[in-house]
Amino acid sequence: MNNEHLIRCHICETVNYDNALTSECRRCHTKIRASLRCSYNKTLAFLITAIILYIPANLYPILITKQFGMNSESTILGGIIHLWELGSYPIALIILVASVVVPLLKFLLITYLLITSKHQTHSSSLDKHKLLYITESIGPWSMVDVFVVVILSVLIHFSGIQIYPGTAATAFALMVFFTMLSALSFDTRLIVNHNKKSNYKKGKALHAS
């Protein structure tokens, strides 16, 4: 059996032939063999958009506190440092991971996957599939900071004191949206294609009850 010509439909999980005869999944009829070049370009375009949005997301204030007519603004990093100084270490860490580590890690992972899809590398396709899976699953967690800012702005909404989201909230939310689109546009065949020989390891499914 020619294992290297089998691919997984990302919509219905069905195993399909990767041949030129048909461009649709045999079960759900989703296009699963659109051009790889198109997938590459889409992933790259969404990634660049996200990276550009990440700049205003860090430079502009994400949270503005208006207290008796006085405005004080705080950026994402400023907020994390402030929380750390106050001693709320767990919260500071959650925000640090969600708003800084996860987005940067996603940028790096997608860039790595894009670069290695064009050039021969020593890394195994098995690891790269796992990296793509991780990239997809950690994506939404960056939304925590935006959610928190919105929740706080609803609750701290009095005549004397008000908290409201700054420009960075919009930039950040859009950044998360575009990184998710970027990861979703990445076609797994970009990993599969160039080292066809050792593509799949075949085995019996492991049992457990």
Binding site: N3, L6, R8, H10, I11, C12, E13, T14, V15, N16, Y17, R26, R27, C28, H29, T30, S88, P90, I91, I95, S125, L126, H129, K130, Y133, G139, P140, W141, M143, V144, V146, F147, V148, V150, I151, S153, V154, L155, I156, H157, F158, Y164, P165, A169, T170, A173, L174, F177, M180, L184, Y200, K201, K202, G203, K204, A205, L206, H207, A208, S209
Partner: protein, 211 residues
Amino acid sequence: MIKEHELDKLIICKKCHTLYEKVPLTKNEKAFCNECNVLLYQQDADMLNKSLALVITAGISLFIAFNFSIININIQGLEQSLTLTSLFMVLAEHEQYVVGLLFLFIIVIFPISILLSTFVLLFFMKIGKAPYLTKRLLILLAHLKPWNMVDIFFISLLVSMVKLFDIANIELGIAFVAFLFMLILDIIITKNLSFHELWLLHAQTYGYKDE
């Protein structure tokens, strides 16, 4: 060329893309990937009924979560409560339209669509009718899945509460419990409802050429 039913005996792991030949399972058994321990497929004859009951319960929780207050706070006599309506009113007042739109989709439209589609899908698959509709719903659900953020919204609620802990009296509303309940149900449904099995069941129930 292998025939279609031969291809159906194969499965590719969603995480590491290792190809496996499926082995028959007995009742309530599960098969995991050798490489990354991800659940590949399972045998559960009662999947439709169980999931249907869970989805209905989740729907009730969602209704409560959307219509009652999530958190009430009290700062020196001043009171404020977080509800879905107050959330969108405040966002509109601050002219945060993009964030508001994103919230509308992530918190309201997607969860409702996911639950409603799953309910309709399971109902029609159970009685074995409407092949085209059920197929569209299966595809729709696959597209909606990555945008489900109930878990992240709940974590955000907890983070916000910790931030307000020092300056305000916090009281949890009914909707907070409903959100927590929905989160738990969501995890159980995801564990129970295998889309791989649903697609196979769809092919068995309606035949391959349903269009």
